[in-house]
């Protein structure tokens, strides 16, 4: 059943479309969640130089590979937005599917990496560095999974030419997921 949008949703007193405004507020709330977690991690890391020994066991090249995968998926999200701006829903859906593919690649790589680490005894309880490592990366991975699912819904609609403005909104969110990883990668992998 079609849902009639209330007049409230269609108004725009600020001039910013309501959906975009809301996505920015969602991101504001997300920034403080990850900001809090990473701030705490940083303070602990400074107080515990011995964590460098644990951090030495993270695989920087796998992290780098995943960074590359995520950045590429953000690029296809931009292409999807461009297509949606032109009103080409099918093209937008295609590029969104590439982004979903990127998200899945990221998760597959991450699964192998974690499997490898856990089988070497570096579990979430091994020490507090590993606790932070799995908590921060796990929270980020949850956002990747959520983003991929939402993107699937948006792509499904976009393919039928519906709700094309949502392509931009999920793109904004996806860039945020990307940016969080840009912070996680140096903090968890590069800093030894």
């Amino acid at each position: 059943m079609a849902h009639a949008k209330p007049l409230a949703t269609l108004r725009s007193a600020t001039g910013i479309p309501t959906g975009r405004l809301a996505v920015w507020w969602v991101l504001a709330s997300e920034v403080v969640i990850f900001g809090g977690l990473l701030g705490v991690y940083l303070m602990h890391r400074i107080g515990h130089p011995e964590w460098a020994d644990a951090a030495a066991h993270t695989q920087t090249w796998i992290g780098a590979l995943n960074t590359f995968v995520l950045l590429t998926s953000s690029f296809t999200a931009v292409l999807a937005h461009q297509a949606a701006e032109k009103g080409n829903g099918k093209e937008a859906a295609k590029f969104l599917c590439f982004t979903i593919l990127g998200a899945m690649t990221f998760l597959v790589v991450k699964s192998f990496e974690w499997y490898n680490e856990i089988s070497h005894g570096y579990t979430i309880t091994a020490n507090t560095f590993w606790s932070f490592y799995y908590t921060a990366a796990g929270l980020h991975a949850l956002h990747v999974i959520a983003g991929a699912i939402i993107m699937g819904v948006v792509a499904f609609d976009a393919f039928r030419g519906r709700e094309l403005h949502r392509v931009e909104l999920i793109g904004i969110y996806w860039h945020f997921v990307d940016v969080v990883w840009i912070f996680l990668f140096p903090l968890l992998y590069i800093a030894k």
């Binding site: 849902h3 209330p6 405004l21 709330s29 403080v32 969640i33 809090g36 602990h44 979430i124």
Partner: protein
């Protein structure tokens, strides 16, 4: 079906037709109408309030008459006592103050006061309530699991909250944490909706300074909540891992730090005080302007003061940790910021008093509540100065002085503020007037016992009575007859206050069905919600009569007009 927006007027037929039961469920449990969702929040909040009050009754009886079999509960064991005080605090803040003051009033008032037909995201709004309901059910369920409900205080400090060996409530503490986390999710969803609606969906002509103060306050509170809760969500995930899979985030022997939780908790917990305070102040300001028939003294002053309070509230949290082992130099800084924040709050109270000055005051029930808010919150604020000063706090910390102080702030916020708003907007919500005599009986029956509960607790706190003691008979210096008589005064006053709430519930239900018809604008107020039917139908206004705004919300007693009020929607 899920997307059906049910027409309130159509329900009149459906109600008589027994075969359309699903329709009834759809209307009240699956509706996306902001007014229905507001009612869901309001009544869930009231129900939780009754449970929270029942808990207070049980543990106050145990404290005043140790060891008696409490009528309606039985003997209170130490574990049950801990669980009762913990869940009383959690319920009153997270499941009463927030859903009623922010979610219920926010949902009801925002679209009506800005002249919109609904919130911008009605389905997210519905989801927000549903998550909230689940969180409430989980919390209540946690009281009945093996080992009993969580008993580590609403602040949930580790290691007590993290180690099952210490708290003895393995499942209860995890469920408590889960319930709080879900409640946060519900309010983040609701908050985004509130902020976006106020920013984007205002009626044509309504500029920033034409927005009624209560809406500003609810939205500033939503922003404060959103920006302060994030680190605690991260901290809650960490605590959850500590509880369930045995990580060591808060365990110093494994590289963690228990004080970390206190920082994360109070970085949220202190702004949270202002999250619930600001809507209550907004309600009070609006009610005072209406019943003093006077423009509020300094609209922009109130607005900017509230913003300043919000900003400052992020820099006071460590005053909860003066004796937790933080650096004394840091304690000095936080003493200064804490004393500073009393300046904007004092300013807000002065604005209310200045608004009263020279007004033609009508002492209706909502106005009495508004005046009581000023008087009682003042006591709460002033006693905060003692605790904010790090030197005095060394003595007062964790005594009943602290407890009495924050009840003198939270009671005016959550109870007085709620009754003030509820009695003021009742005619709009249900279309009928509340009985004023019964309202005043309930008012005095609540306010007088309230003071008799907490003033003795101030005295006991100054006498050194510690907060977290189950039975004072175990401590000879706290077991004297004069201390017991003060405790008994407090408990008996509580019983009297609870008994008077029956007057309120009788008045509410009686007025709901039998009260005098209210009409559109019984208080002769200016804001937009009073321009539509009481109660408003679906869509709030007929689509071709959506209001347009021409002036601010507080144009009372304008010299050029015959009437002493000038509604926002009338062209000049």
């Amino acid at each position: 079906m899920a997307d059906t927006v049910v027409d309130v007027h159509q329900h009149e037929h459906a109600g008589h037709d027994g075969h359309h039961d699903p329709h009834w469920i759809v209307k009240y449990l699956w509706s996306t109408d902001h007014k229905i969702i507001a009612m869901q929040y309001l009544f869930t909040g009231m129900f939780m309030g009754i449970i929270g009050a029942y808990m207070a009754y049980v543990f106050r009886m145990q404290l005043a008459f140790p060891g008696i079999s409490v009528p309606g509960f039985g003997q209170v064991s130490p574990g049950e006592y801990n669980s009762l005080i913990t869940n009383h605090g959690s319920i009153m803040i997270f499941w009463v103050a927030m859903p009623v003051l922010i979610a219920a009033f926010g949902n009801y008032l925002i679209p009506l006061m800005i002249g919109a037909d609904d919130m911008v995201f009605p389905r997210i709004n519905r989801l927000s309530y549903q998550i909230f309901l689940v969180s409430a059910i989980i919390l209540l369920a946690s009281l009945f699991v093996e080992g009993g409900g969580f008993g580590g205080a609403w602040t949930s400090y580790p290691p007590l909250s993290a180690e099952g060996d210490y708290n003895q409530t393995n499942l209860g503490s995890s469920l408590w944490l889960l319930a709080v986390a879900l409640e946060f999710v519900a309010f983040l969803l609701g908050g985004i909706n509130f902020i976006t609606t106020l920013m984007n969906s205002r009626a044509p002509g309504m500029k920033a300074y034409d927005i009624p103060m209560v809406l500003w306050m609810i939205v500033i509170a939503s922003i404060l909540f959103m920006l302060s809760v994030g680190p605690l969500i991260a901290g809650a995930v960490m605590l959850f891992f500590d509880q369930t899979i045995n990580t060591g985030f808060y365990d110093p022997t494994r590289g963690g730090d228990p004080i970390l939780w206190q920082h994360l908790f109070w970085f949220f917990g202190h702004p949270e005080v202002y999250v619930v305070l600001l809507p209550a102040i907004g309600i009070t300001v609006d009610v005072i302007a209406t019943f003093a028939r006077k423009k509020i003294f300094g609209y922009k002053l109130v607005l900017y003061t509230a913003v300043a309070t919000g900003v400052l509230s992020f820099f006071v949290w460590a005053h909860h940790q003066f004796i937790a082992g933080i650096d004394p130099r840091m304690a000095n800084v936080f003493t200064i910021t804490t004393l500073l924040i009393s300046v904007p709050i004092a300013e807000l109270l002065f604005v209310m008093i200045a608004t009263l000055y020279g007004g033609s005051i009508r002492l209706t029930t909502p106005m009495l509540w508004a005046l009581a808010f000023i008087a009682e919150f003042l006591i709460g604020g002033v006693t905060g100065i003692f605790l904010g000063a790090s030197g005095a706090d060394i003595y007062f910390h964790d005594t009943y002085f602290v407890l009495a102080h924050f009840h003198y702030t939270f009671f005016p916020i959550a109870i007085i503020g709620t009754f003030c708003g509820f009695t003021y907007w009742f005619p709009k919500m249900f279309g009928r007037m509340m009985n004023d005599t019964l309202g005043k009986i309930h008012f005095w029956g609540t306010i007088i016992p309230f003071n008799f509960i907490f003033i003795p607790l101030f005295v006991l706190g100054m006498g050194g009575q510690h907060r977290r003691i189950y039975n004072f008979q175990h401590f000879p210096e706290l077991a004297g007859p004069e201390m017991y008589s003060l405790r008994q005064i407090a408990t008996i006053s509580l019983l009297i206050m609870l008994a008077f709430q029956a007057v309120f519930f009788f008045n509410m239900f009686w007025s709901w069905f039998k009260g005098e018809k209210a009409g559109k604008n019984p208080w002769k107020a200016n804001t937009l919600e009073w321009t539509t039917e009481s109660p408003p139908g679906h869509g709030n206004w007929p689509p071709d009569q959506m209001p347009v705004v021409y002036r601010g919300p507080y144009e009372y007693g304008h010299p050029d007009r015959e009437e002493d009020y000038w509604p926002q929607h009338l062209p000049s």
